[in-house]
C-alpha cells in the first residue's frame, strides 16, 4: 500500500510541530508501521535532536535535492525502532535551496517503501511552509490553547482550504485542564468553535515532554506519561482506529462535550 503523506504545520512558531512529528513517528513505528520523517525546517533543524539521531547525520535533504547523495544515503535509521527513518534538514544552507517540486519528487520516491511519510513544517506561511504542504495527502495543524496560536491556525486552515489540501485536522497541544477549569485558558470547545475542523488529538501540558526531548527519546516511549498516551492515540487515529479521547479531567464533563462536538463516542 502506498504511504500516507502527512504534514504537521501551525502558522505560529513553538507550538509543538516538531515534538508532535517525532512522537507520532515513534508511536507509529512502535506499532509496526514503516515511517520516514522529513525535517522541512531548513536552516533550523531539530527533529534529529528530539529523535536522538543528531550524531548520525552525514547527508541531509538539500544534499539529496542537489544530487550530492542518493536518497537512501540521507535516510538515518532509528536506534531503537528498525522501521523508523529520518531525513534531516540542512543546518546551514539557505532556505531557498529547495522548492515545492523538489519536495514532491523526494516524497514520490519514498511513497512505495513506507506506510507513513511525516513532514515537519517550519513556522510561518512562507516558502518553507508551502514546500512542506506541497506533497501532503493530509495536513495536521498543531495549535496551543492561546488566542494568538489559534488565530494563526485559522489563517493556515484558510490557506489549506483555498489550495484544496483536503480538510485539515487539529492537534491541540499543551492543554492544562486546571487552567481551563478556572477559565484562565481557552477550552477545546472554544478552539473548535472558532476553527470548525476535525479534532484528531488533545495533548496535555506535560513536563515529561521536555525531559524526554532533551534525552533524545520522545515521550511516546513513556508508558506512564499522559502526553505520551495522547500521541499514541493520535497515531492510532491516523491508522483509522477509533480511540476515545483521554479523560484528562476526572469528572469528564468537559470531555463528554468534546466527544459530542467531534462526533466521537
Amino acid at each position: 500500500m502506498p504511504a500516507q503523506v502527512i504534514t504537521l504545520t501551525s502558522g505560529k512558531g513553538g507550538v509543538g510541530k516538531t515534538t508532535a512529528t517525532a512522537n507520532l513517528a515513534v508511536a507509529l513505528a512502535a506499532e509496526k508501521s514503516k515511517v520516514v520523517c522529513i525535517d522541512g525546517d531548513i536552516g533550523l533543524r531539530n527533529l534529529d535532536v528530539i529523535l536522538g539521531l543528531e550524531n548520525r547525520i552525514v547527508y541531509d535533504l538539500v544534499d539529496v535535492i542537489e544530487g550530492r547523495c542518493r536518497l537512501k544515503q540521507a535516510m538515518i535509521r532509528d536506534k531503537k525502532l528498525p522501521d523508523l527513518y529520518l531525513i534531516p534538514a540542512a543546518q546551514t544552507r539557505d532556505k531557498n535551496a529547495i522548492s515545492a517540486s523538489d519536495m514532491m519528487r523526494v516524497v514520490k520516491d519514498l511513497r512505495s517503501d513506507f506506510d507513513f511519510v511525516l513532514i515537519d513544517s517550519p513556522a510561518g506561511i512562507e516558502r518553507g511552509f508551502r514546500n512542506a504542504i506541497a506533497a501532503a495527502d493530509r495536513v495536521l495543524v498543531v495549535t496551543n490553547p492561546e488566542v494568538s496560536a489559534v488565530r494563526d491556525a485559522d489563517r493556515v486552515i484558510g490557506i489549506l482550504e483555498s489550495e484544496e489540501k483536503g480538510p485539515a485536522a487539529l492537534i491541540l497541544n499543551r492543554l492544562n485542564p486546571a487552567l481551563v477549569k478556572s477559565k484562565d485558558m481557552l477550552s477545546p470547545e472554544d478552539v473548535l468553535d472558532l476553527l470548525a475542523v476535525e479534532l484528531i488529538g488533545i495533548v496535555p501540558e506535560d513536563e515529561n515532554v521536555i525531559i524526554a526531548s532533551n534525552r533524545g527519546a520522545p515521550v511516546a516511549y513513556d508508558a506512564k506519561s499522559r502526553a505520551g498516551q495522547a500521541f499514541r492515540n493520535i497515531a492510532k487515529r491516523l491508522k483509522g482506529e477509533t480511540v476515545p479521547f483521554l479523560d484528562l479531567e476526572a469528572q469528564g464533563s468537559l470531555w463528554e462535550r468534546i466527544q459530542r462536538l467531534t462526533g466521537r463516542k
Binding site: 517540486s101 484558510g158 489550495e163 470548525a196
Partner: protein, 228 residues
C-alpha cells in the same frame, strides 16, 4: 521591451482565474505572466490559477519551475490546458489538471462595478478566516462567520449570516446611513463611516443585531428583526 501585457488574457471563472497566453516562445510567455503578477500582487495573492498555453510544448522542468515561482508569490497553479499532448502529459505528471469546466459565455463576462451602479452586492458563501481582507465598493453579504483577524471594508452595508468576530467597516466612503447586521454581533472592531466602536462585548446569549449611526450621530446596535 515588447508589450508583454498583450500576450495575456485573464478571466474570472468559477474555479479561480483562467490565464490564456498567446503563442510565443516559452521564456516570453513565462516572463509576461510573472510581470503581470508582480505588477498586481494584491489581485493575484491567494489565487487559484488555470493556465492555457495554447500549442506550447512544455517539459517537466519548465512547468515545475513556473509552479514554484507562482507558489512563492502565493498563487496556486492547479491546471494547465494545452493543445500539445506533450504538455498535457507533463501537466499530468506534475499532478495538475488538464481540463477545466469551460466557462459558459455569460459566466465569463467581465463585470465592472461602474456598469452596475452603487447597489451592487458581493455574496460570499463561506467563513472568512484570519488574514482574509475583503474590500468592496458596494454591499457585502457573508453566508458564514467572520473570524478574528478577518476584515471587511464596504462602501455599502455589511450583512453577515453568521458570527461576526473580526473587523468590519461599512459606509467606508463616508455613508453614515450604512448598517452592519450579524446573527452574533461580537466584532473586534466595528466602524460605520468615521464612527468607531470597540466596546461591543461577546454575548452569552447572542441575538441577531444591527449596528447603525443613530439620529444623535452615535453608533448603536439594536435587535435585527425583519419587521423594521
Amino acid at each position: 521591451m515588447e508589450d508583454t501585457k498583450s500576450l495575456l488574457q485573464i478571466k474570472g471563472i468559477r474555479d479561480g482565474l483562467l490565464v490564456s497566453i498567446d503563442d510565443a516562445p516559452w521564456e516570453q510567455q513565462r516572463s509576461a505572466l510573472l510581470t503581470q503578477v508582480d505588477s498586481q500582487p494584491a489581485f493575484f495573492q491567494g489565487a487559484r490559477l488555470a493556465l492555457d498555453v495554447m500549442t506550447q510544448v512544455l517539459k517537466v522542468d519548465d512547468l515545475a519551475e513556473l509552479r514554484d515561482q507562482l507558489s512563492e508569490r502565493g498563487i496556486f497553479l492547479w491546471a494547465v490546458i494545452s493543445e500539445s499532448p506533450t504538455t498535457e502529459k507533463t501537466a499530468q505528471l506534475l499532478g495538475l489538471a488538464t481540463r477545466i469546466s469551460k466557462p459558459r459565455p455569460e459566466e465569463a463576462r467581465q463585470f465592472s462595478i461602474a456598469d452596475l451602479g452603487e447597489e451592487t452586492a458581493l455574496l460570499l458563501n463561506r467563513t472568512l478566516r484570519s488574514g482574509t481582507r475583503i474590500e468592496f465598493p458596494g454591499h457585502v453579504v457573508i453566508l458564514g462567520d467572520v473570524n478574528p483577524g478577518a476584515e471587511i471594508i464596504a462602501e455599502g452595508n455589511i450583512i453577515i449570516w453568521g458570527r461576526l468576530r473580526g473587523m468590519v467597516r461599512a459606509g467606508s466612503a463616508g455613508n453614515v446611513a450604512a448598517v452592519i447586521c450579524a446573527l452574533d454581533l461580537s466584532p473586534t472592531q466595528l466602524r460605520i463611516a468615521d464612527e468607531v466602536a470597540t466596546t461591543l462585548r461577546p454575548r452569552i446569549d447572542p441575538k441577531p443585531e444591527m449596528a447603525r449611526i443613530n439620529e444623535h450621530g452615535k453608533l448603536q446596535s439594536e435587535n435585527w428583526s425583519p419587521d423594521r
